[in-house]
């Protein structure tokens, strides 16, 4: 509670170093590597948003891909230039109220977050009464429903064809800027009274409500905040890739984020940020496992899928090694 001077100084130094690092990376690395670093910024936001729900509040949600989809489509539709929209929606014209919309990136991102957050609120209200595994499966279900709906609402999302030609607004500064905002938000939130109430719910629901904490209100709050940031991150992703379609937002996307959160430690902000960086870079670095490499004299055959095998093994190994520790040990910033 008492803000420790030392740790905040360390944090500032860390922040300054990261910014310098990003600056140098942006200047000297090739575009492929910059893209990876940009992507890791997005994953930091995603990891933290899931950590708020699963790590700090102790719920188990697997709905992240759905909220990302909402954010991604919001940004895609709102920022796409009007002529581009006409090209995209050739099967069925876009809904008239969206046809002549062309927003800037920041308002679109905000809209992405707010719509995803609202969706989190609406979805959370009924299902957050469920516990552990039922909640997991219900949120997973909602994410799937969102995906199926997006596949079918031709005039809104262009259905299975997806959206192409979303302006590439996302650069290293956008993604890391948002990541910093998220880190700041989570830190401040968890330091304050509301964050402590989330932790109390994670620790012991019965005791928490006997101490006057309205479980439902706080769970919905945490879930909506988590969804908000998932939506913003989805929006960043859409503007990084330029192309989105409903099939991107399958449960395997949620799996990647879960991996980050579990590796970083549930309830650990700095850990999550670091693990987001490490996992994203490794995802790319291990790409060679999937693709064949030509060493000139010998052709090494890559094995598609090997990369994800490695990650699945890492996830299981971490869970097996840490057992209780993985989840119960709450390190606070």
């Amino acid at each position: 509670m008492k803000i420790k001077e030392k740790s905040s100084v360390t944090l500032l130094i860390l922040l300054a170093l990261t910014i310098v690092g990003l600056f140098l990376a942006n200047k000297f690395l090739d575009s492929y590597k910059i893209r990876i670093i940009t992507l890791s910024g997005i994953y930091i936001t995603l990891g933290l948003s899931m950590n708020l729900i699963n790590g700090f509040t102790g719920m188990f949600s697997l709905g992240h891909a759905g909220f990302m989809a909402i954010g991604a489509y919001t940004v895609g539709i709102l920022t796409m230039p009007i002529p581009m929209k006409e090209m995209n929606f050739f099967m069925q014209p876009i809904a008239p109220f969206l046809a002549n919309v062309e927003w800037g990136f920041l308002p679109a991102l905000l809209a992405a977050g707010i719509i995803a957050g609202l969706a989190g609120f609406v979805i959370g209200a009924p299902v957050l009464r469920l516990t552990d595994d039922y909640l997991a499966i219900a949120t997973l279900g909602f994410a799937e429903i969102i995906r199926v709906v997006f596949t079918n609402t031709q005039s809104l999302t262009n259905g299975a064809l997806g959206l192409k030609g979303i302006p590439n607004y996302t650069n290293i500064w956008w993604s890391w800027g948002i990541a910093f905002v998220t880190i700041w938000f989570m830190t401040v939130l968890m330091k304050g009274s509301y964050g402590k109430a989330f932790l109390a719910i994670r620790e012991d629901e019965v005791a928490a409500r006997s101490m006057g904490i309205n479980l439902f209100k706080h769970k919905v709050m945490s879930f909506s905040f988590g969804s908000f940031f998932a939506g913003v991150a989805g929006g960043l992703l859409a503007a990084l890739l330029g192309t989105i379609d409903p099939n991107m937002f399958r449960i395997s996307l949620t799996f990647n984020i879960l991996l980050i959160v579990v590796l970083g430690g549930l309830g650990n902000i700095v850990g999550t940020a670091v693990s987001a960086l490490v996992v994203t870079i490794m995802m790319e670095a291990l790409r060679f496992l999937d693709e064949s490499i030509n060493l000139g004299f010998i052709q090494l055959k890559g094995i598609p899928g090997m990369r994800m095998v490695v990650f699945s093994v890492i996830l299981i190994a971490v869970v097996l090694i840490r057992r209780e520790g993985a989840l119960r040990k709450a390190k606070r910033v």
């Binding site: 005791a207 409500r209 006997s210 101490m211 006057g212």
Partner: protein
């Protein structure tokens, strides 16, 4: 202050308590005793809204003019009205620090919304500071000021019990329910506890309802005592009357 009328609670086919009535006046310390499994904790759970009774009504009026029906309210609503409790088997937020545990007890009275908390608006800052100071004060009261940065689960058992009381006090209760506060204590410690309960009662203007197995504690501290056996109220009165009551002696000694 608290009026329990004809309370009946069943789990499946098992009746945990039936037709229990009790009256607790403002400023009293009232004891609830009975052999193990008599249904004492069940009554606490019903009062605090953890269980819904099959039958019966509970009214609570913290100030003389306003009546609240507790049955049907959620535990958090009841806590907000000013009924707070400790647990028989200590339920702390075990991975959080001692200070945080008490701090969380303050949360239900917070007026700032979550956004002013995140953006650290001055109104919230003042509130948080007050909560922090109050928490420190309460920790001092229970003698845990030196342990405030330790994890709650790392405390010895006796200290955990005191921390639970501090956490409950942080909610600003009018009525405090203590579920076996003296469990696991030696005679010297129970003596301290008795003095401590009296002291917090005076200082925070509390009414106290407690379950206890240590007869010396209960007899010394309570103004009235209710005795429960197999979910049925078998006696109530002042400590002297209870000590002389034959049915109570029977229930405890198991005389047929």
């Amino acid at each position: 202050m608290l009026n329990i009328e004809n309370l009946t609670m069943k789990f499946g086919g098992v009746t945990a308590c039936s037709n229990f009535s009790a009256k607790i006046k403002k400023g009293q310390i009232v004891g609830l005793i009975g052999p193990n499994g008599a249904g004492k904790t069940t009554i606490f759970n019903v009062i605090t809204g953890v269980y819904k009774p099959v039958e019966g009504q509970i009214t609570f009026n913290p100030k003389d003019h306003k009546q609240h029906l507790l049955v049907g309210l959620r535990p958090d609503q009841i806590a907000k009205l000013g009924v707070c409790r400790t647990f028989q088997n200590v339920r702390l937020f075990s991975e959080l620090s001692v200070l945080e545990n008490v701090f969380i007890g303050n949360h239900l009275r917070i007026r700032s919304n979550v956004f002013s908390a995140v953006f650290r608006l001055p109104s919230y800052g003042a509130e948080e500071k007050a909560m922090y100071e109050k928490s420190c004060y309460l920790l001092e009261k229970v003698g845990l000021q030196d342990a405030k940065d330790e994890k709650a689960c790392s405390l010895p058992y006796g200290m955990q019990r005191r921390l639970e009381i501090a956490r409950a006090l942080a909610t600003d209760p009018r009525l405090l329910l203590l579920d076996e506060p003296a469990a696991g204590m030696n005679p010297q410690e129970t003596g301290e506890l008795t003095r401590f309960i009296r002291a917090i009662k005076e200082e925070f203007d509390l009414t106290i309802f407690l379950i206890e197995h240590h007869m010396d504690v209960i007899m010394e501290i309570s103004e009235r005592i209710y005795v429960l056996d197999h979910g049925i109220l078998i006696a109530h009165g002042n400590p002297g009357e209870i000590q002389r009551n034959e049915r109570v002696v029977e229930a405890y000694l198991g005389v047929e």
